[in-house]
Amino acid sequence: MLIVVLLKGVPARTTQALQIGGVLNREAMDLVLNPHDLKAIEAADFVKRRVGGKSVAITMGPEAKLIPLMKPLYDSEVLGIDEEYVLSDRRMAGSDTLATSYALSLGVKKVVEKHVNPMEEMVEAIKKSGYSEAVKAKAEELYRANMLPNRIFSELPSIHDSIVQRFLGGEITAEAAIEKIRAEMEKISRFIVVAGIKTTDGETGSVGPQVAEGVSELLGKVVPHSTYVEDFDVESSAVTSQRMIGYLSQKLEMKLPCVLTVSPEYRPREPLASAQPEVRYNSYRGKVLQAFKWTAVDLGADPKRLGLTGSPTIVGAGIDVGKPPVQKTVGSSLIFLSDYGPSEYEGKKYGPFSRGDLTVGLPDPLLSKLRSQGIVVVFGYDVLARELFA
């Protein structure tokens, strides 16, 4: 099974978040992996151990920053990803969630095609060359490039019955081999996409469902999604997910391909021992330690749907959240006990003021006068109670 993990590099420190016109300048910041993505990697790892396959990460942003960030993820033997794709292009800079999801959806589609195509090449090789060294050479080349699962061809000592080996050994006919490879093509098209529930910078949580929609559009079929997944199991063609949405605990069953966003509450299940032979057949040779970079052109993207042009939302000016607009201190602030004014004092106009307003900007003599008249009072508990609950 092809397992696609969506990852994001987020600013290491919020104080260092550099912005140009409301858009983060990721090239100038220290980035770390979005913490919620670790759950997505755990989930991907579970799928790999449960049904076998290859876990592929897709990330988007400046590759010079992202590639070092991803390095530890595939260096890890136990938990980790097998291949890494960075979507990096100036034309993608400034993308909002819609434009980001569009680019990521294209990335998912291209990753799937990249894994279907070598199988098609094997079919062509068998058709063209029959029982020959050319077929074996092709299979070896693709297998070593990590592009064929063990079931189609393998150099593992424990596997002698891959489709190509059986075909070359005369056990199955060319037609049978082609049919079996085509079945594998079907299987690899039933991929799963996993993502964190949100990122710590944008915090929208929108990209998971939007990639499901984007991939649906690109593939011309409905790709279901499940968000806030706390537990799931996966079989060859379906996922059963358990999720918490508000006060609803819901079990959602989805056919593959599908998209999951993984809750911080997620704990992976233990894979079944009985499934291990199947896992071995579905797995690939190993890891490719060099990230692949794809540009907008590589993805076949419509430039109008990328970057600032493809982003419906515009981030405007920031509003500083400091003190609340009005702060009334019990025991010291002066406020109007009733509506007052407008009134003139020594040629200047003041007010009108509403009940509860602070006496900001009033000259002291006027203030004393109003206090003696009982119009202005010190803010106390009685007024506080009224303002809180009236």
Binding site: P11, T14, A17, T97, L98, S101, D201, E203, T204, G205, S206, V207, P209, Q210, A212, E213, G214, K221, V222, P224, H225, S226, T227, Y228, T240, I245, Y247, L248, S249, Q250, K251, L252, E253, M254, K255, C258, P312, T313, I314, V315, G316, G318, I319, D320, V321, G322, K323, P324, Q327, K328, T329, V330, G331, Y381, D382, L384, A385, E387, L388, F389
Partner: protein, 361 residues
Amino acid sequence: MTDEAVDVWVYLQHGKAGLTKDSLELLAAGRKVADKLGQRVVGIILGHKIEELAEKAVHHGADGVLLVDELAFETYFNLEYIDAVYSLVAARKPYVFLFSANEVGKDLAARIAYRVPTGLATDTVQLEVEDWSNPVLGQFKNLLIQVRPDFGTRLAKIYTPRHRPQMATVRPGSFLPLPEDLGRKGKVEKVEIKEGSYPAKVTEVVELPSPVPDLAGADVVISLGLGILRDRTGRPRDPREAYQYAEKLKAAVEDRYHLRAEIGATRALIYADVKALEGLISEENQVGQTGTTVRPRVYFAIGISGALQHRVGMQNSSKIVAINTDPQAPIFKIAHYPIVGDLYEELPKLVSAIGGDGRAN
């Protein structure tokens, strides 16, 4: 092209107890925006046997309701709901479409926005209507200003100038529900939508009871911090005394104003392992980054200095009252009503003023 779009839509969620609190808030948010635009608020409700919810929506601010009342919509199933809501948007073209920023609202809104396509401003805390211009894009009249937190340190305005509807999710707690007005009239329209077939299905749904205490759902949260362990001179005090005042405050708010109040606590107090507070407060009371995020109408911070991790969990409360001996405490930066003083002296006055029993036990 974009000018044809009209009306402010709000997607209303409901449970066993009727329209949810978040939905009532959303109606208030929609009302505010619609009044500024001179447009209608239209509630969108999907479900089965939900006719009475439409009336309720009208009483809480809707001018109209589009009701999808079919057996197929009895339980929430995202793909089917998304198709249904999208078909309404495509056919009727609202100007603004708001969802609650909770799990269901986000589940729906993101995918609908992509399909339209339009922008989606998530977790907005304020909505305004303003004219806006940009040297490249030109001038726009009556644009929805979607204000959302940006990196926890500031708020940013988000605009969706060129696309309709302007879609946003609104953080629960950002608006106060409008009082029920039984005299309000609105147009309720039933829309028939055929059941679709999907490569997914919901096989089990359980509606869980609200957690106890239900901090997120409370109108008033009274939170205690480490400050309750000592008075202003540094002399140790029995924290149960402060807890009792909190209980009295809670009772007064509930009895007198018919609001739901809960007692919260800081992480520091909960993990300080105070023997005297055993059985009174636990992790379930925790407000803050790793606890519950609350946005009540009134938040009382009692003996809480206001570490950032606590503030992010309560800073969006409509009104914040803080009692602390230290005038420099960070909590006073965000408090609407600072009370500088010893909480053991101030609490009795506060409780009495709110109508409770302010005497010490």
